[in-house]
């Protein structure tokens, strides 16, 4: 272990909170909700101790709008919640996207619809990857599958948020938030103090007024704005990220993200033990989605099955990627059910027929 790293045993939620601190979060606003309350508990203690700002807001709506305000000042700002709370934040997320402000939003999902339950679910895939609020926008979406990734991707999320001036969402789930495993923490990380200097609000001293807004009433202005945003979302493809696990010689590829992606890897290992060539493709950026890479793999004659902890959401993106080259099987692990590697053995085996 190098001197610049330390090893910790933490929950996924804590790994995110620690990642936020190491990612330079300065302002954090949140409202309690299970299964992510470890994040506000950790940051109300540690961020405040480090001189950062924490407000336990009166609502999810207020907390995302506090993020909007702090982000407008060029600060690394974050909020965290779980599914029903994220629904409430969608208005603010739309405004943050429309005003082109950087922000990190953590969703440790739970089951739905409605109050649902606190058991694991990946039911927020559509909401996360299609914008979620009103208007034609996208948030970048990162899906960790280990506590280490919770830490690493949270740090990366802040960098991406500033790179694109756009909200970046971490899509975890109750399994990930509540499980404990070792992570490696970086000790020192530099953040450019001039980040956002060309647009952030500071008071107009010595320069022209700056206005951060999402209202475009003049004829043609909104069209231009949307065109610019569209180009920006396309450009995010330069930061596509995914994991390929034993894909090279695989006959069947299971596509899965987040905690399910990890469980499916165990299934693949078991099936390899039975002589079946199974690989796993795990998208890490859910928006942008690695369509092109999946298409390439399909062209080489592989078969696909998508496995999700929902009734079928990411599978639509996989099918878009396959684009008629071949079909894609699907196995739904119902929201609320904690799955084991054994659950996926038969559905994957069926693809060999």
């Amino acid at each position: 272990m190098s001197e610049n790293k330390e090893r910790l045993l933490v929950k996924g939620n804590e790994a995110i909170a620690i990642g936020a601190i190491d990612g330079g979060v300065e302002c954090y606003f949140a409202y309690p909700i299970t299964p992510q309350s470890d994040i506000p508990e950790y940051l109300s203690r540690e961020l405040v101790r480090l001189g950062g700002e924490f407000v336990q807001a009166e609502s999810e709506i207020a907390s995302i709008n506090m993020v909007l305000g702090a982000a407008a000042c060029g600060k690394r700002a974050m909020t965290s919640s779980s599914s029903p709370g994220i629904s409430l934040k969608q208005e603010g997320i739309s405004y943050i996207a429309g005003s082109e402000l950087p922000a990190v939003i953590i969703n440790i999902t739970r089951g739905g619809p409605g109050l649902g339950g606190i058991q694991p679910s990946q039911g927020d895939y559509f909401q996360s990857t299609r914008g979620g609020g009103h208007g034609d926008y996208r948030t970048m979406v990162l899906a960790p599958s280990t506590c280490q990734e919770c830490y690493d991707l949270t740090i990366w999320a802040f960098d991406l948020a500033f790179k694109y001036r756009n909200p970046v969402l971490i899509l975890g789930d109750a399994i990930l938030g509540q499980m404990k495993e070792p992570i490696t923490r970086w000790k020192e990380r530099e953040i450019n103090p001039n980040e956002g200097a060309e647009w952030r609000l500071t008071g107009k001293k010595g320069r022209k007024q700056r206005i951060l807004k999402s209202l475009y009433l003049d004829e043609g202005a909104m069209e231009q704005h949307n065109l610019r945003l569209y180009k920006k979302y396309k450009s995010m493809e330069t930061d596509l990220k995914w994991e390929e696990f034993m894909v090279q010689d695989a006959d069947v590829i299971a596509v899965a993200f987040g905690s399910i992606g990890r469980i499916v890897k165990s299934t693949a290992r078991k099936l390899r033990g039975q002589g079946l060539k199974v690989g796993v493709f795990r998208p890490i950026t859910l928006f942008p989605f690695p369509y092109e890479r999946i298409r390439e793999l399909a062209r080489s004659g592989k078969k696909f099955i998508t496995i999700e902890n929902n009734t079928g959401q990411m599978v639509e993106d996989v099918k878009l990627a396959l684009c008629g080259i071949c079909d894609c099987g699907f196995f739904a692990n119902m929201p609320g059910k904690v799955s084991t590697p054994e659950d996926f053995i038969q559905p994957i085996k069926d693809q060999f027929n």
């Binding site: 300065e26 302002c27 606003f29 700002e53 407000v55 807001a57 009166e58 609502s59 709506i61 207020a62 907390s63 709008n65 506090m66 993020v67 909007l68 305000g69 702090a70 982000a71 407008a72 000042c73 600060k75 700002a77 208005e91 603010g92 405004y95 005003s99 609000l201 500071t202 008071g203 107009k204 001293k205 010595g206 007024q209 700056r210 206005i211 951060l212 807004k213 999402s214 209202l215």
Partner: protein, 252 residues
């Protein structure tokens, strides 16, 4: 007239842009904007101010007052202002909100912002209607007042009573200054300016949350001439919304 005899009786505040506003004839937003701009000038805050715009007729405040600005979603200006102030406590932060924005959809945000004693100043324009959307019933519409969504007049047994925001916020510990003012005549304008400056002061002196409610005319949606609208402020609004200072920690 000889040049030497010319006397400048009015000039635009330094931080105000010399452009026509989009406000209707007789609307009080223009006067209130000017008072805000004058207060910014008098405290020498133009370079140091961050304005939070809201949704409603006043959304274009950033086109008229030349300060750094951010636009909030409908009702959320006090939460956005909280984020701004927490991020940059060295800046002067104010938000400018209408009655639908502040007292209906944003009631939670304003109450909690005041209760936390956020060091921000909120300017609240109460004209008893939703102006921008065409004169619908507001949380401050008077009982009996006809609007496009209360065509029989606001009914106390169905729609309840208009909210008295200056009193409500004045009752909270975090509020350092809360007043209700009007700009329907010169005397009231002068009083309004004094109150507004106090609402600035409590932020500048780190005492607490500052709030001023302006009774404001909306001749267009009241279907009145500007002069009659001014009169209505006196005859109908003031009896229910009394002018006054409901909290003043500067003088405590």
């Amino acid at each position: 007239m000889n040049p030497g005899q010319e006397k400048l009786v009015y000039t635009l505040p330094k931080c105000m842009n010399d452009i026509p506003t989009h406000f209707c004839p007789g609307c009080h937003h223009g006067i209130i904007h000017r008072l805000v701009a004058q207060a910014i000038d008098e405290f020498d805050l133009q370079d140091n101010t961050i304005c939070v715009g809201s949704v409603g007729c006043s959304v274009f405040i950033y086109n008229y007052i030349d300060v750094d600005s951010v636009e909030a979603p409908h009702g959320r200006a006090p939460a956005v202002a909280t984020g701004v102030k927490r991020a940059r406590p060295e800046n002067f932060v104010f938000a400018y909100q209408g009655d639908g924005d502040l007292a209906a959809i944003g009631l939670s945000e304003i109450i909690h912002c005041a209760n936390r004693g956020e060091r921000v100043t909120i300017i609240f324009v109460n004209n008893t209607v939703y102006g921008m959307t065409g004169g619908q019933m507001a949380p401050t519409t008077l009982v009996g007042q006809k609007t496009t969504t209360s065509p029989y007049g606001r009914r106390e047994d169905k729609e309840g009573y208009p909210l008295k925001m200056a009193e409500i916020l004045g009752s909270l510990e975090g509020t350092a200054f809360s007043a209700r003012v009007a700009v329907n005549n010169i005397k009231n304008i002068l009083k309004a300016k004094k109150a507004l400056k106090k609402a600035f002061q409590v932020q500048l002196q780190d005492i607490g949350f500052g709030f001023v409610e302006f009774l404001s005319a909306c001749p267009t949606n009241w279907h009145m001439s500007p002069l009659d609208a001014n009169k209505r402020i006196e005859t109908e609004l003031m009896p229910y919304f009394p002018l006054g200072i409901f909290k003043d920690k500067i003088n405590e």
